[in-house]
């Protein structure tokens, strides 16, 4: 385990380095020169801008400058719009996106796992069929449509509106949670449907194992058989899925934060893309990618803890 963990850590570090290159080059190798776009918008002196942005040196020098700035001084660069340093701007907005993604993850699991279990132990009953169709509908409707439905109908029917001003979790935890619950539901809608289906299938598979028959034969109650003996084993593929969600949820947070007007990193990225604020775009993308790499690392290490049958070599 120790050797595996250290090798996995090393690989994560290498991935972060390579990812930073991808992020850096993504903005430079796609056709469409940054200078052309700025010039088309403003018509300013090309050489002066190029020097200001540090684009007058070869690409690898630019990359080296960017990386040393981040590593040595924690400086992600400065915004093209108002030349303010980016690091505090981004750091200030990360907690909200983190909270949104984490909350939607928790909401997804809280909703889908019990429903999946119920559908499995009452297989082929009417309620099982209804829940299965519900899961399929959830998978088919894009999250921005769900968000639209929530903003249009839920708020109209129940007279519940998201507060216009952002409530920070430090000041009013309950108010903050109340504000975030709808965006979190919308963000995780597709994952909820998917998890319901996977949970049901895995539960059905687990419940047909020999050790479950043994548990029944011992005369245990259904609740004990299902929760203590079957659930833990059926959960393993769900954990795998959770690892895969992180990039999807982060991508989706751009849309959801835009619809619900939440001041998170996704919203910041959306504005930066609209303003063509390139240093901001690469800085945010880099940070989000690093989060994805680290979460993948956590999921990989969590396997061994959850499933003792998995051996690392």
């Amino acid at each position: 385990m120790g050797a595996y963990a250290s090798r996995r850590l090393l690989w994560a570090a290498l991935t972060i380095i390579l990812t930073s290159m991808v992020v850096f080059l993504l903005l430079r190798f796609i056709p469409g020169n940054i200078l052309d776009i700025i010039q088309a918008n403003g018509g300013i002196d090309r050489a002066a801008i190029s020097k200001l942005l540090g684009l007058n040196v070869p690409v690898y020098v630019q990359y080296a400058r960017w990386v040393t700035g981040i590593v040595l001084r924690g400086n992600l660069g400065s915004s093209l719009m108002n030349s303010r340093p980016l690091t505090p701007l981004i750091v200030q907005r990360i907690p909200l996106t983190f909270e949104l993604c984490l909350m939607s993850l928790i909401v997804v699991l809280i909703i889908s796992i019990p429903i999946g279990i119920y559908a499995a132990i009452r297989q082929d009953t009417i309620l099982d069929r209804i829940l299965r169709s519900f899961a399929i509908i959830l998978i088919s409707v894009p999250n921005f449509v769900i968000a639209g439905i929530i903003t249009l109908y839920v708020f109209v029917w129940w007279h519940y509106f998201t507060p216009l001003q952002f409530i920070s979790i430090g000041k009013d935890p309950l108010g903050n949670l109340g504000m975030m619950i709808m965006p979190a539901l919308a963000l995780g809608s597709q994952q909820t449907g998917g998890t319901m289906r996977v949970m049901r299938t895995m539960m059905l598979e687990t419940l047909r194992q020999d050790y479950i028959r043994t548990a029944w034969a011992k005369g245990l109650k259904e609740r004990v058989v299902v929760i203590r003996h079957a659930l833990k084993n059926a959960l393993i593929p769900v954990i795998t899925m959770v690892g895969g969600w992180v990039p999807i949820l982060i991508g989706g947070s751009v849309i959801i934060e835009y619809i619900f007007n939440l001041p998170g990193v996704g919203r910041l990225l959306f504005d930066a893309l609209n303003q063509r604020d390139y240093p901001m775009i690469s800085a945010i993308t880099l940070i989000l990618s690093v989060i994805v790499v680290l979460s993948n690392l956590l999921v990989d290490l969590a396997y061994g803890w959850l499933d003792p049958r998995i051996h690392y070599q």
């Binding site: 390579l18 991808v22 399929i136 894009p142 449509v145 849309i255 775009i281 989000l288």
Partner: protein, 308 residues
């Protein structure tokens, strides 16, 4: 007609009536998978609407009529008009066309890229495989939707770039799926036999490996169409997709027709894809059988044992 595949009493074998594989598959789909058939019907209907959009639209999709803005549905405009007085039904019909174009184009490109990367990587194996997989790891650590947003910020907004961008992004990630499929079939004897009779790696890859993962490729393509339509709509919706001048389900404003059509299409594609996977590859079928007795039966048994 009455005695296909049977031997008549006289001992004369009746000529066996053989159907093509596709026909058989279609028949099984209709008989065994009602939801999958429904999905297929939805896909065919929207495809037909897209293909014949030109002849189906009652009004021009660009005709602005400022005297008839935001009208509800009427006999003249079945789905009403939008904020510029354009006929919603016509734009909806044309939207099917662009959405289907993008969906099918992007999914086709994605599956080609996936096979080109995934199949050789798994077939060659060893160090090559490891290096290719690590590069895919790196690519997948940037959230895909953000890659799409960045690419669409820099590239011109039209259907061609949309297909290219969606196809490449999904294709590199999908290579992982193809790789795992190839790894499963690689130890089979027919692969070693193909190499033993002197086929080159490329030949065995093309003649034996790729045809044997065809079911997987078809299913991945089908599900990819739905994913592409969804991503396209999300990008349009944020203003990073097709320009508003092109009518697409994502750029359509009036609620709720376009979101309904997107959801219905994705529902159809998912159902069809899932059924297709069940029919083509029975090994992937899960959750068959019942673990215990039905609740009613359980109650009866409990009563029975309580007596003793």
């Amino acid at each position: 007609m009455t005695n296909d595949n049977k031997i008549v009493a006289g001992g004369q074998p009746v000529k066996e009536k053989r159907h093509s594989f596709v026909f058989d598959l279609f028949k099984r789909m209709v008989v065994e998978k009602p939801l999958g058939t429904f999905g297929l019907v939805v896909i065919i209907v929207f495809l037909a609407i897209g293909i014949f959009a030109k002849y189906l639209i009652p009004y021009s999709i660009v005709q602005i009529n400022l005297f008839k803005m935001n009208q509800p549905s009427s006999s003249a405009h079945l789905l009403g008009t939008d904020f510029l007085g354009r006929d919603v039904l016509s734009r909806f019909i044309y939207g099917a066309r662009s959405s289907m174009e993008v969906g099918i184009g992007a999914a086709a490109l994605a599956i080609i890229i996936s096979v080109l990367i995934g199949a050789p990587s798994a077939y060659i194996g060893g160090k090559t495989d490891m290096i290719v997989q690590r590069f895919i790891d790196v690519w997948l650590s940037v959230p895909p939707f953000i890659v799409l947003l960045i690419m669409m910020t820099l590239l011109p907004h039209n259907i061609f770039t949309m297909i290219m961008v969606l196809g490449t992004t999904a294709g590199i990630g999908g290579a992982r799926l193809i790789r795992s499929a190839v790894i499963v079939i690689k130890p089979n004897t027919y692969i070693s036999a193909s190499e033993a009779i002197g086929n080159s790696r490329l030949q065995s890859l093309l003649r034996h490996v790729v045809p044997n993962i065809m079911p997987m490729i078809i299913v991945a393509f089908t599900l990819g169409v739905g994913q592409a339509i969804m991503s396209e709509a999300a990008l349009d919706w944020l203003g990073f997709g097709l320009p508003i001048s092109i009518s697409s389900w994502g750029t359509m404003n009036p609620w709720p027709w376009a979101p309904l059509a997107i959801s219905l299409t994705i529902f159809g594609i998912n159902m069809f894809g899932d059924s297709l996977r069940d029919l083509l590859d029975p090994r992937l079928r899960g959750g068959v059988g019942r673990y215990s007795l039905k609740p009613k039966k359980l109650q009866q048994l409990k009563k029975y044992f309580a007596k003793d």
